[in-house]
Symmetry: C2
Amino acid sequence: MNEEVKPLLLRAALNQETERTPVWLMRQAGRILPEYRKIRASVSGFKELVTTPDLAAEVTLQPVDILGVDAAIIFSDILVIPEAMGLPYEVIEKTGPVFENTINSVEDINSTTVANGQELHYVYEAMKLVKQNLNNDIPLIGFAGAPWTILTYMVEGSGSKTFSKARRFLYTEPEASHLLLEKITISTINYLKGQINAGADIIQLFDSWAGILGPVQYQEFGLKYIQRICDAITEVPIIVFAKGAYHSMEQIGKLSCNVIGIDWQTPISEAHRFSQGKAIQGNLDPTVLYADTTTIQKHTVQMLEEFGPTGHIANLGHGVYPDTPLDGVRCFIDTIKEHQFKH
Amino acid sequence: MNEEVKPLLLRAALNQETERTPVWLMRQAGRILPEYRKIRASVSGFKELVTTPDLAAEVTLQPVDILGVDAAIIFSDILVIPEAMGLPYEVIEKTGPVFENTINSVEDINSTTVANGQELHYVYEAMKLVKQNLNNDIPLIGFAGAPWTILTYMVEGSGSKTFSKARRFLYTEPEASHLLLEKITISTINYLKGQINAGADIIQLFDSWAGILGPVQYQEFGLKYIQRICDAITEVPIIVFAKGAYHSMEQIGKLSCNVIGIDWQTPISEAHRFSQGKAIQGNLDPTVLYADTTTIQKHTVQMLEEFGPTGHIANLGHGVYPDTPLDGVRCFIDTIKEHQFKH
């Protein structure tokens, strides 16, 4: 890929001038698409889809073909990392992920292994299939969970309202917490290197549960390990999406990543204030897409104008909700692609 | 109650000098106490406890007697307001509150009534019993949910991970949302007047789901109605606890309340920066209380020193978790009561 034809989204990620704002949606490969639901209904469960390369590739490509988004994101799950480290999980319909064994002590951590990344060969195979079928101007986004978010699942064993077990673990077992975060971090770096070898053009780190820590804890147990990953991954740009971490925006701005993802609660002006020249991704409230066309257009244009014409990757402030009307999703995407900036 | 003997907590709420920092805990009357669990086991359910004045009064007084906190908070539930407006609910063990009917349209809103407050006479009776048994130097905190949080339950019908129905309602039905918020606001003012007549010395508004709105939406659908309540309640000080609303700290600082409650994610320095001379309440991470004595003391003292000796009401950054060890709770309270400020 030479400099002249670098895809729109990658130019925006590097804060270069673009002819328009690029757009993709978190969870774009998923239940919003009838074509996805059809494939999903043909398999035994979510994990079969994740671990079957030709199916994972197919659903990865769907939103590019059907919705016209500016990037594909590999269809996978952040929890493949704990599994590769020795903690298998199931995804139970309407409940979410459930781990049979959880981490409660140093002994539990010692019984996990650092993943070398080859455990996740099925993800790389899916990515290679995607790249074979993807137009050169559409980049493929690889991803992983940030170490803190992965720790929460390994300690809690499932989703949680308060994540009090995981937060408690940091206070009661700070050294064990760091040991586990170390092992997750190295595993994640190995995994992301594998994704880049398989064709990932850009990487997003999802720190879905950043917001349940206060700023001091998040610096010590969250951002420190994200920085380690940013240091190790130099081949492609990195997007860091630390949901709920507006309290740490200044510290996030100091990371050596390329793009900061923000949720809809984060004021765009404040993200700009601390971004240190990085591009910003986000941040429409996903529930706007349930509204009528005029309302969606109004909020989308407001967002675009507040971000301005460069250094912005348009997205929602969180994953698109599965029951979002497809017309709303299309309206969001089309509004962005057709927008003419006033200035 | 004359000026000379005004209780410690009320002086702190008014940002007056105090001999030490006062302390209470959100959800202090509850499952952390074996004495509470015993009474809870003797009734059919949570709502029986809420609606039986002598039992509600007894569990309200327990933490004052057993833990030595500096305030009692009436044992009740924010959802008594939707019920008084015509939407009854049940509290289902391990699930939480469930409403049989929910709000989906203007017609649904029209079928609710503005509560005059007298529907909730059982709360006032409990408060009067508490006041008869409470030492004069311990104030009684009354409370209500903030209108936005009450709306979320009326629209969702239960708790939620994303509150996407409630957020969606603001975008799809903005006028109906304002109509409902109006009715909730007037009902809440009537209710709080009743609580003050029954002896409440100070009021806390809980906006538990403030943080799921972005700052623009929260200003329009959240803070506007909190300000209306602050304007109407002039008899006693008001604490506003808008959980997760760090993004709106500057606007919260402009409210005509007396105390700003903050969660553990909010940097204390930023709360001070925007507080406009108001007292601040909070904000230790409740999971600190699971740790050993040394760790609890360290984090509690750090918090106290960062807040400083005046204008601070010590509390957790959220309700105490039901399985918190009582020794941890006692350590937190005792550390605050014994602390000598360096300066």
